[in-house]
Symmetry: C2
Subunit: 312 residues, 2 copies
């Protein structure tokens, strides 16, 4: 009897770990649900989900006895939580275990962007250093002014690191938070205007769609660098591409995009953008911790115990 259905692109190691605990059924994506027969679908009480394809009312209604959707990842914007609520389905995610890695990628992109580390590496490796002399001077990162958009757990990890780089830290959040003297802005446009680096650490989903609007991007000015480790949806990407191409802002460091992995090819032409393939949490250590937390939530559900990291 299949109680756990695993949906998404899991590694062989993750599949083995899931199989050891749950004897699950595997599907590549939610689009394969319709291919299961009624009995198999009726057996499913828990879904282990990984991916960014929508999992909403239509998918839930194919699983009449579903009680849990355990998401792999902290961002659960692919899952329609309102639809889950209406069906008394619980949703869990994997918060906290990935905060450090995502914050590391944010800081790494800031250093790479400001210090042009990828171009400098190419300069050395191509032999230009020997043939044509020193790489051009670039921009000091320590001591910059930074704005964190969304001072949740990941935003705070980023800010804590940047404090060690002697940065003047500003932030936007829905309300002022307890901080070590960081400057609160209730208006994201004013935040953008006040800082050199603007780091997007918002939750994804409909509420934050294009939160980094054309107006916010315009306010960054010619020294502004946008760093995004949240979701591609949080940024008005058309406005961002225009600003980058016209050099109305200095550059960007992006781990997330609209339509990943088929991102807008206009990004490839931009030398002032550090591109990462949504690898914020992509370490062996952290992905193992995320998979473990997902399994622990499913095991707790099957045992009738309290969920570890419930969303709803």
């Amino acid at each position: 009897m299949t109680k756990t259905l695993v949906i998404g692109g899991y590694s062989d190691g993750d599949k083995a770990d899931l199989s050891r605990t749950f004897d699950p059924l595997f599907l590549a994506g939610p689009e394969d649900l319709a291919g299961l027969d009624d009995a198999a679908r009726a057996d499913v009480t828990a879904v282990a989900y990984k991916g960014h394809k929508p999992f909403g009312a239509a998918q839930m209604d194919l699983l009449p006895n579903l009680g849990l959707i355990a998401n792999y990842g902290v961002g659960y914007d692919a899952i329609d939580v309102d639809a889950a609520d209406a069906r008394q389905i619980k949703v869990t995610n994997t918060p906290d275990v990935l905060n450090d890695d995502v914050a590391d990628i944010a800081v790494g992109m800031m250093l790479c962007q400001g210090r042009e580390m990828m171009q400098a590496s190419a300069w050395a490796r191509s032999g230009n250093w020997a043939k044509n002399g020193e790489y051009r001077l670039n921009r000091k990162v320590t001591g910059s002014t930074v704005g964190i958009l969304g001072l949740g757990r990941i935003g705070r990890e980023i800010a804590n690191r940047l404090a060690a780089f002697k940065m003047d830290i500003h932030y936007y959040a829905r309300s002022e938070k307890d901080t070590p003297g960081w400057t609160y802005h209730s208006d994201p446009v004013k935040l953008a205007a006040a800082v050199d680096f603007l780091v997007v650490a918002l939750v994804g989903g409909k509420d934050t769609e294009k939160f980094v609007s054309r107006e916010v991007i315009a306010a960054m000015g010619p020294r502004g660098v946008l760093i995004n480790i949240s979701r591609g949806t949080t940024v008005d990407e058309a406005a961002l591409l225009e600003a980058l191409e016209a050099k109305k802002i200095a550059g960007a460091g992006l781990d997330v995009f609209l339509n990943e992995p088929d991102i807008d090819p206009r990004f490839y032409a931009l030398e002032n953008v550090v591109i990462q393939p949504h690898q914020g949490s992509g370490t062996v250590e952290t992905r193992a911790a995320m998979a473990q937390l997902q399994r622990d939530n499913i095991a707790a559900f099957h045992a009738g115990e309290a969920l570890l990291t419930a969303v709803n």
Copy 2:
């Protein structure tokens, strides 16, 4: 009357700044000294020096009235200070103003190496992300154990940043220092064996030549990553290349090399090495501060005032 001789590859902006203050004579390198006539050489009382070519007794003896060599850069290993002492020539450098930038490059190389950011960027930009899926998992950086070889001003700046990445900080120095609980090692081999990342922040020169010896490198082990922002001379580069090629250590992040900029081409074949073209201090802001400090030392010398940052 030429009192100040400027030697080295200065930018046009730096040359203009020097000319505004000193009406100097410019030479491309110390090898051009012999081409000056006796009278011109006798006029020189101060040298503004930039570069890594040796400036020793032979060069000093061509300038019979020399009283100051003002070095551009904190590392003055190109200048023979003993020879200067013997001739009552003072030497100055440009410490502190570049600490932040050099520390930033050290941390940037650690993040790039551990998180494979340059390979991940290439994966996305080449279209592999869209065609072949996620970039491979890599290695968590936060929470690593790090060893700082040389806890001077730059080493401390690096350690302060890494503390914010929750690292367990170990260090080697000639004697134990006042630290916030960091672990002291009097033996660099034992330090190397105890840590994941080994960061070289030693002073250059003869005393530290191959301080990172074959034995130190062997002690790092297969998880070890060497970061060097000091001088190429501090590392046994032949042993390092062998260890990297044989994957006896995990990788390296190097801003400095022997024979810069004609570095050993074997480095180019190594994917596990982040290469930077000695750009630790290479920002517009910091190079301006270094140039200003060099000029201030020369101005103080000509005015008979105390030097700001004397080495001897």
